[in-house]
């Protein structure tokens, strides 16, 4: 029966090409616009480390003085040197890493490449195992290197390609800011999206080109990127004693019980520091996992949300339009439908036949919508924002495009099909 309905549908659609084209165009435009914006939203609000993000937590403390204190305030979004190092050394979690972003001048050995600045991450040894960063060659450094402020570095695959033509460069020397570093590892391609571990250097920025121990970078006073928030005496030449927060601290806690215990530890630490007089405010701690942290920081740009709303408004207009056109199309065939009814077709089978016709329009509209979505995403990628390059259609979104197009058109077809089924057969037979 379905085959017969499909045949009828295609005949009917061919009979009135302009009207069919108009419906397909409306569906394609609406679906194309919606899927473009939804894909961008889907990519931007994704999980940066699927499977691991629930175990990674971002502890926050409030080390500020009482100036400007409001009880309902959230603690600062970063930690200072003293607290960061204390938490790192306490080692209460399975893994923990302290870090900040920066930029270093790279002085290539080859004279063919001029010195250039590269984004860097100054961090501690656990960064690599905790985030399961893939290595192409070599490995990360260890806690002893951190303690010794060792001159060791890990390169991104991209930087290794640029400097060493993609060859295994471990053991080689890299000069940065007039200091020689030994390369211990080269990463494979790795770009967590969003750039969750440091949102201050751009929510969707690419991974850094070079990684060095935080202790080394701080001792050498390498240039920092990101945000610094100070109170009291504030900035000074020595960031180790400045009353500022400027570091990100991440921990891995494998079970909910560990997370509860760690939060208690943070609370105890804050109270202890208050008793010592270093902290002045009442203990105020947070322990958010990756997705909660991204949520709290509202990483998805509000323009992206706005575009989704806009696209859905547009889709709604397109659907209302399709309902109207489909109604016109079905009612115009009253005579034909009347004949079928008179020959014994039930209302149900007429209804099914008309819905098959609607579905066929939806399928073609979906194909058009897919093309438009691909075009739309290509346009998005040409936009200037730092997330632009990430806008690609994946398989779930591709299937969703077709499914939503067919579903939307079937919904749009319900009212016209129902209306057309109500036509009394006798009247139609008489009048022609």
């Amino acid at each position: 029966m379905f085959g017969y309905y499909l045949d009828l549908a295609l005949r009917s659609l061919k009979r009135n090409k302009a009207l069919t084209a108009l419906m397909v165009l409306a569906i394609a435009l609406g679906i194309g616009a919606s899927m473009t914006t939804l894909t961008v939203l889907h990519v931007l609000s994704g999980d940066p480390l699927p499977g691991r993000s629930g175990k990674l937590f971002y502890p926050q403390l409030d080390p500020q003085d009482m100036d400007g204190y409001k009880p309902q305030d959230e603690p600062p979004t970063q930690v200072g040197w003293i607290d960061g190092i204390a938490l790192l050394h306490a080692g209460r979690a399975r893994h923990q890493a302290l870090m900040t972003g920066g930029a270093v001048p790279i002085q290539p050995m080859q004279s063919a490449i001029d010195p250039f600045f590269e984004d860097a991450r100054y961090t501690s040894a656990d960064f690599f195992p905790m985030f399961e960063v893939p290595f192409l060659y070599g490995h990360g450094w260890n806690a002893a290197d951190d303690e010794a402020s060792a001159r060791v570095a890990v390169l991104s695959r991209k930087l290794n390609d640029k400097l060493f033509g993609g060859k295994d460069s471990t053991g080689q020397t890299l000069r940065m800011d007039d200091v020689a570093f030994r390369i211990v590892g080269v990463l494979d391609s790795w770009r967590p999206t969003p750039h969750f571990y440091d949102l201050h250097t751009g929510s969707y920025s690419a991974e850094e080109g070079v990684f060095v121990p935080l202790t080394t970078a701080t001792d050498l006073k390498f240039a920092r990127n990101g945000s610094t928030d100070c109170w009291g005496k504030g900035m000074s030449d020595d960031m180790k004693t400045a009353t500022c927060t400027w570091l990100q601290f991440w921990v891995q806690l494998d079970t909910p019980a560990e997370a509860v215990a760690y939060k208690q530890f943070l609370l105890n630490y804050s109270q202890e520091q208050k008793a010592l007089g270093r902290f002045q405010r009442p203990a105020n701690v947070r322990l958010r996992n990756v997705m909660d942290w991204l949520d709290y920081n509202k990483v998805v740009p509000s323009d992206v949300h706005l575009q989704v709303w806009l696209a859905f408004g547009f889709l709604l207009v397109c659907l209302v339009n399709t309902v109207g056109l489909m109604l016109a199309k079905f009612l115009r065939r009253s005579a034909e439908l009347g004949v079928r009814r008179a020959l014994g077709a039930s209302r149900r089978s007429l209804f099914a036949q008309l819905l098959v016709e609607a579905g066929a329009v939806g399928l073609v509209g979906g194909a058009g919508g897919l093309l438009l979505a691909l075009l739309g995403l290509w346009l998005v990628r040409r936009q200037p924002s730092d997330y632009a390059a990430l806008a690609h259609l994946d398989l779930p979104m591709l299937l969703a495009t077709f499914a939503s197009a067919v579903l939307a058109t079937l919904l749009a077809g319900l009212l016209p099909a129902w209306r057309a089924c109500l036509i009394p057969p006798a009247l139609q037979l008489k009048s022609n």
């Binding site: 100036d67 400007g68 001048p105 109207g324 016109a328 200037p384």
Partner: protein
């Protein structure tokens, strides 16, 4: 023209009529808000900076390793830059408008205040006002002997008390002391205080992440930067010689000290254009959506009206046979469309207002100005009339003889 027959016809074709009304209403609501969003984005794109944008270029350099005498380096660089042909002023500054990188601080008007009054940005650099071409509207610029070295102050916080003076923007002065003269007033930063000695017309913050309404909350301090504490050289020149000055400046700076990297060399116009490119892209997207929306709506009206005309061929034939002219038939369909569009527009206005309230709540948008309502109505009426013209003409062409044929 009598509109009663139109109503009685519409009452018997409720669903198509309602669909048309709904479509017009949704289109009207979305288009009004989208046009408003475009105007907001374009207005933001035109935001005043207070500096002579067309005359400025920026060269940003970074040292490799630690420079030994950053203060002398800066003075020598500036002397070389000022000698470049076409350069009328040069300064080494801590921040530049539209570069997103800024230092900011909380300020108080009274040291005993529990919470800070507001957060403002801090511009520093010797000769900054002259180089940026910022217009002084009250008081005076800093004297040469008022400047302190930023590096010295950073390593010895006691020197902070010696800074003493500050220049603020008109907007900040008006916010802090509404209706009063700002000159001589005190601002407290942490434990030190500074006195306002001058007011400039405007100088925009380098980053607008604190909200556009705080864009002009700016203070300028008499602090001299060195290559250790600042990396941005700002040069003022005639608009025609900007490219040439940029090339010259990069060459001179590299030659004076090869042990550094030129990070960026751009005119301020380019920097500004980059800063607002997201707003322009969004405005472009909105224009595209509006165009597509209007086309879809117009085509929808054409489709429905054609169906309508085809369905009523006999009725039209009867009316023509009973003496109605072609013009009568044409007017009938035009009036019908006008009525439906009017209902749709009225509904659309209410909807537009609702969407605007939602946007105000979630996206910090101002209220939709009333002018959008009549303009939106006229646009949709025109589109409705244009769309219905074809089908209505076809209806008018129905010959009276149809009435005798088909029954």
């Amino acid at each position: 023209m009598d509109i009663r027959p139109i109503f009685s016809t519409l009452r018997r074709h409720k669903i198509p009529a309602l669909l048309l009304i709904l479509e017009v209403a949704l289109t009207c609501a979305i288009v009004c808000n989208a046009v408003f969003l475009i105007s907001q984005r374009l207005e933001r794109n035109e935001m005043a900076s207070g500096v002579v944008e067309h005359e400025l270029v920026q060269v940003q350099v970074a040292n490799i390793g630690k420079s030994t005498d950053a203060k002398a380096r800066a003075q020598e660089d500036l002397a070389l830059l000022r000698q470049l042909p076409g350069v009328t002023a040069a300064a080494l500054v801590n921040q530049v408008p539209f570069t997103n990188s800024s230092s900011n601080t909380s300020i108080k008007l009274d040291p005993t205040q529990k919470l800070p009054t507001l957060n403002a940005t801090m511009y520093m650099g010797e000769g900054l006002i002259k180089a940026y071409g910022v217009r002084l509207v009250a008081g005076r610029d800093f004297d040469a002997d008022e400047y302190l070295d930023f590096d010295a102050m950073k390593s010895n916080p006691d020197l902070q008390d010696k800074v003493g003076s500050v220049i603020v923007t008109q907007a900040l002065a008006e916010r802090l002391w509404p209706g009063e003269s700002a000159l001589g007033k005190k601002i407290y930063l942490g434990e030190t205080s500074v006195r306002v000695i001058g007011v400039v017309q405007a100088l925009i913050r380098p980053s607008l992440s604190n909200g556009d309404n705080t864009a002009q909350w700016t203070m300028i301090f008499p602090l001299r930067m060195s290559t250790a504490s600042a990396s941005r050289y700002v040069l003022r020149t005639a608009p025609g010689s900007r490219e040439q000055v940029l090339e010259g400046a990069a060459r001179v700076l590299r030659k004076a000290d090869p042990h550094r990297i030129v990070l960026e060399k751009k005119t301020l116009d380019e920097i500004r254009s980059d800063f607002f490119q997201n707003d322009r892209a969004m405005a472009g997207i909105l224009v595209g959506v509006i165009a597509a929306l209007l086309v879809v709506t117009a085509l929808g009206i054409v489709g429905l009206a054609s169906f309508w005309v085809a369905q009523r061929r006999r009725t039209i034939g009867v009316r023509r046979a009973l003496g109605a002219t072609r013009r009568h038939i044409l007017n009938y369909f035009q009036t019908e469309n006008f009525l439906l569009a009017s209902i749709g527009i009225a509904l659309g206005m209410v909807l537009a207002y609702g969407i605007n309230l939602f946007l105000m709540l979630h996206y910090e948008l101002p209220r939709l100005p009333a002018i959008y309502f009549p303009v939106g109505a006229v646009v949709l009426w025109l589109i409705g009339q244009a769309a219905v013209l074809g089908p209505a003409l076809r209806a008018a062409a129905v010959p009276p003889v149809v009435a005798t044929r088909s029954v």
